[in-house]
Structure formats: structure tokens, C-alpha cells
Amino acid sequence: MNIKKRLVNIYYSFLRPIFKNRRAFTGFVILLGFFLMATVGPLVVPLSLRTDWSKRYLPPSLEHPLGTDYCGRDIFQQIVHGSRSVLLIAVLSALFAIVLAITVGITAGLLGGIVDVILSSIIDVFLTIPSFPVMLIIAATLKVKDPFSFSAIISMWMWAGLARSIRAEVVSIRNKEFIEAAKLLDLGTFHIVFREIMPLVMPYIAINFITMMRAAITASVGIMFLGVVPFDITHWGVMLNLAMFQYGAVYVPEGLHYALAPLACIVLLEYGAVCLSHGLEEIFNPRLKTYE
């Protein structure tokens, strides 16, 4: 009973507004499409990595919807299987980053004092260090071989911004609540803070989740594009790397689609994420300006 009510609640507070807002809906549909491709796709579409040099760089056809790559393998299959890798890393990174951000942000905001000072300094440092070079260096030296550690590395350089905002939010609420609820036990205040903060902050976290997913996609594709962590050959970043650098597909007239396919998917996926996050922003922060 409780679950059913919760689901209905979720529908009305989250899903319905998304369906109504054009941008959010577009993004939602695109992302949903890719998620399906990532979860169901590999089950439906087989992956045949047999090389057949007679079939190099075939253009898109019914048999090979996106054509073939440098050694005759079907591109569409690779894209579908690669989507799983891409999205898994994206989701994991965003998840880790959010958990980290919430933990650090709330702790710093609630405890204050020296703990806050230390944590805030750490946040600031993580914010200043440019993410891509450091991710690259860590990925290269630690020889990452699985999506979990890779996601962990990516998430390390994404959590800082959100942590800072959460901390600020907690601090402002803490100041209000403490004044009024001075008599409550510490446990009580914790609960109030959680029950007050979380609902307010949830939409913001949801938006950040999508933004982080997008950043993680860019980062993971970028790193793999440079050939640094090639643990999954179907990952779109690796496909690009092979297309561009290893086999010079871009220099061969027929090989263009090999590079374009993953490129197009990356752009589409990121565009979907951007649409959804902007749409959600519009929904949850109704514009105060009424005339435009």
C-alpha cells in the first residue's frame, strides 16, 4: 500500500512535470532510449568480434545498419554493446560523486568549526585542480581495468562543486533551525535537518546527477579516446580512438562512418542529458521573469 502511494507520488511530482515540459521530455526520451539500448540491447543484439577483412568499411545497409569497421565487424553491434559500458560508467561516476558530495557537504555544514574549515579547504582544492589532466594521469598510472575503479577516479573530480552548494544550504538551514529548535536533542535536530533539507535539495540533486552523468561521459570518452584505458573495446571512446589513431579510418573516404557513428551517439546522448537537466531546471525553478 505504502509503495503504491509512493509510486503515485513520484509520478505526480516528478514524471508528470517532465512530460509537460518540452525540453525535459525530449531529454527524457533520448536518455530512456539509450538506457534501453544499454540494458536490453546487448541481450537482443549479438556481438560478433570476428574479423573479416573482405568486409572492411562497408557502408550502412540492411544487414549492417551502421556499416562495418576497419576489420569487417558490424558497427551497430559495437555501439549497442558499448552503450552499456558508457552508461554504466556514467551512472556509477555520478552516483559516487553524489554520495561523496552529500556526505562531505552535510558533514561540513552540520558540524561546522574546524571540521568545516578542513573540509571546505579540501573542497576548494578539488575545485581548483583541473579535472581532465588529473584524471588522465591517475588513469594512466593506476592502470585501470574495470568500470568501477574508473568511475571512482572520475567521480573524485566531480563531487566538489555539489558539496559546496550542499554545505551552503545546510549552513543556512542549520542557522534557522537551531535558533528555533534549541531545545531538541541532537538526534532530533538531525532528523529535522534531514527531513527539511532532503525534499528541498532533491530536485537539485537530480539535476546534478544528470549533469554529472554528462560530464562523466565526456571524461570517460575523452580518456579512452586518448587510448589510455582501453578495457572495453566497444566503449565509444575506444571506438573513436581506433578509428582516429590506430587505423586511420578518418583518412580513408569509406571509413568515415566508422568515426561518425560513435561521435553521433555521444553527441545525441549528451544532448539528451543537457535537455533533461535544463528542462528539470525550468520545472523546479519557475522563472521569476514573466515577460520575455
Binding site: V125, T128, I129, P133, V134, L142, L240, I266, V274
Partner: protein, 334 residues
């Protein structure tokens, strides 16, 4: 006021120090396999026994002596950095500083040109669409900005490269200048440099101009609502004056702050972009180092990149109050 600057500088040092330390602990515990490879090569080249070659490799080509305790190595490393010794490239067998001297000018050239160009164009566009609210320019720029925002920068770079360099052969596919020329301050060379730099600069500008435009539009839109703009109109000042001295001057300030941050982002992104265009800048070599596990070069270039970004942020932090008279007053109290 002075205290504020000192605080910022200390902070910057701390950040650099921390990054360098991270690098140290990551890299100076290099897996033996790499060292072995170098040692084997050296052994063959110099005709010395493997063990000796390994020592030489470690000391000269990787940059440290594994026999010394960790703490001592760490201190030595920090001291080295402070004196400008950034280690050696294990692949190229030269000091990192040599690579930097060759590569940094190109990166700086491309980045600063790209940054200033995209800033100038973007800010102008942003100002125009904020002021003239009913042109079609507004939606066009906004749509363009959203689109380029969604595309990661290397995608833009790749597309430009494939279309303009490879397919249409309008621009060169590698290098900072034509190989047939020797560097010097003569017109042919300068032209060649510009020609080779066009695509990387274009990639940055195409990618980022929308960002500046939207940022400036937002800033200008809020300035337009300010009383002093209304007062300026009431005083009968010509439109051009209001746009430049009133809206422009005031709106650009918060946007200009982003210059340092953008430079940081661009420096980080230069890794991929320079690789795509085969442009021999810091980013290109940094990517090369990571791809080929040239640890010496990796840590050296990483250090340079970090220092560049931190310094850029520091400069803007210090300069901004001097530019904005309103902040000057408060900054004096901080």
C-alpha cells in the same frame, strides 16, 4: 588589502604543493616493468650490465634513486620542483624543461588567441541580444550556444578536423608550422604559423563563443534593469554611449572573472584538442606521455598545467577588485 593577497598566494602555493604531492605518490612509485624496459635498452646501447643500467635509468632517465627512503625522495622532489628541475622524459631522454620550452609557446599562443577571440565575439553578441530584445539574433545565438554547450569540445574538434583538414584539405593536418620552413620572424613563417593554428583556434572559438554570449547576455540583461541605466536614458545619452559605458562596462565585470576559469578549462581540454590536430603543444605532449607511459614527462607537464591554472586564477582574484570600484571598497576591508 595586502593580507588578502597574501592569503590568496599562500592558498595557491598550497594547491600546487598538494597537486605535486599527489603526482609524486602516483608516479614516483613507478612499476618496475617500465624501468626494466628502459634499463634493457640502455644496457644494450651502452654495453653495461643490466643492474647498472637499471641504476642509471632510475637516476637519470626516471629521475630518482630507489634506494633512498621515501621521505628523502619526497623532499628531494619538492626541492627539485622549487628550483625548476621538473625531471626527465623517459622516452625522449631530455629534461622536461626542454620539452616545455618547445611546446609551451604554441599552447599559449593558441589558447590566448582563442580565448580572447571567443570572449570578444561572445561578449559583443551577448550585449547585442540583451539590448535588442526582438531580433532573430537572440534565438539563433541561444540555440547555437545550447548546441555547442552540449557537444564536448573534442567532438567539435574532431568534426572540424575531419571536414576541413582531412576531407576538404583546406587546412594542414599536423604541426605548428610548415616543415619546410625554419623558425624566424619573417612573413612566410608567421603566415605558416597562423595557418597551422587556425583549426585549433577555430575549434575552441566555435565551442566556447556561445558560452560567453550567454553569460554576457545574462549579465547585461540584469544590468539593463538597473536604475542608472534608466537614468542614463532619461538624461538623453546616445544609445552607443549607454551600451558601452553603462551596460557594457558594468556587465562585463562578472563575465571577465570567468576568463581565468575558462583558461583553466581550456588548458585541461588542450590535451585532446592538440592531439586531434597533431599540434605540438603542452597538451599534445601530455597526452603522448600518458599514452606511452612516459612518467617523467607526465608529471612534469602535469605540474606545468597545474601551475598555469592556479596562477591564472590567482591573477584574476587579485586584479578584479582593482577593476571594479564597487568591490574595491569591500576588498579594502577584507
Amino acid at each position: 588589502m595586502l593580507w588578502r593577497i597574501i592569503k590568496r598566494i599562500i592558498y595557491a602555493f598550497f594547491t600546487i604543493f598538494l597537486s605535486a604531492s599527489i603526482t609524486f605518490f602516483l608516479i614516483y612509485n613507478i612499476p618496475g616493468s617500465v624501468v626494466d624496459i628502459i634499463a634493457a635498452q640502455l644496457a644494450e646501447e651502452m654495453g653495461v650490465p643490466f643492474e647498472e643500467a637499471k641504476e642509471i635509468a632510475l637516476t637519470y632517465y626516471v629521475g630518482y634513486d630507489p634506494n633512498k627512503p621515501l621521505l628523502e625522495r619526497y623532499v628531494e622532489y619538492i626541492l627539485n620542483l622549487l628550483t625548476g628541475n621538473l625531471g626527465r622524459s623517459t622516452i625522449f631522454r631530455v629534461p622536461v624543461t626542454e620539452v616545455i620550452v618547445k611546446a609551451l609557446p604554441w599552447t599559449l599562443f593558441v589558447l590566448s588567441t582563442a580565448l580572447l577571440t571567443s570572449f570578444a565575439i561572445g561578449v559583443l553578441l551577448g550585449l547585442i541580444i540583451a539590448w535588442r530584445r526582438r531580433t532573430i539574433l537572440g534565438p539563433i545565438v541561444t540555440a547555437y550556444a545550447s548546441f555547442t554547450d552540449a557537444m564536448p569540445d573534442f567532438v567539435t574538434a574532431m568534426i572540424l578536423y575531419i571536414v576541413l583538414a582531412v576531407r576538404l584539405k583546406l587546412f594542414p593536418m599536423k604541426g605548428a608550422y610548415s616543415e619546410s620552413l625554419t623558425p624566424g620572424l619573417y612573413p612566410d613563417f608567421i603566415l605558416s604559423v597562423l595557418y597551422h593554428a587556425t583549426l585549433p583556434i577555430l575549434a575552441y572559438v566555435v565551442e566556447h563563443v556561445g558560452f560567453w554570449a550567454l553569460l554576457m547576455k545574462g549579465s547585461a540583461a540584469s544590468v539593463l534593469e538597473e536604475d542608472f541605466v534608466k537614468a542614463a536614458v532619461a538624461r538623453g545619452l546616445p544609445e552607443r554611449r549607454i551600451l558601452t559605458a553603462y551596460v557594457g562596462r558594468v556587465a562585463i565585470l562578472p563575465v571577465a572573472v570567468m576568463l581565468a576559469i575558462q583558461l583553466g578549462a581550456m588548458l585541461g581540454g588542450s590535451t585532446i584538442i592538440e592531439t586531434v590536430f597533431n599540434y605540438p603543444g603542452i597538451g599534445y605532449f601530455f597526452a603522448y606521455a600518458t599514452q606511452n607511459l612516459d612518467y617523467g614527462l607526465m608529471q612534469g607537464l602535469f605540474f606545468v598545467i597545474i601551475v598555469g591554472i592556479v596562477v591564472a586564477n590567482l591573477v584574476i582574484d587579485i586584479i578584479y577588485p582593482l577593476i571594479d570600484p564597487r568591490v574595491r571598497r569591500e576588498a579594502g576591508r577584507l
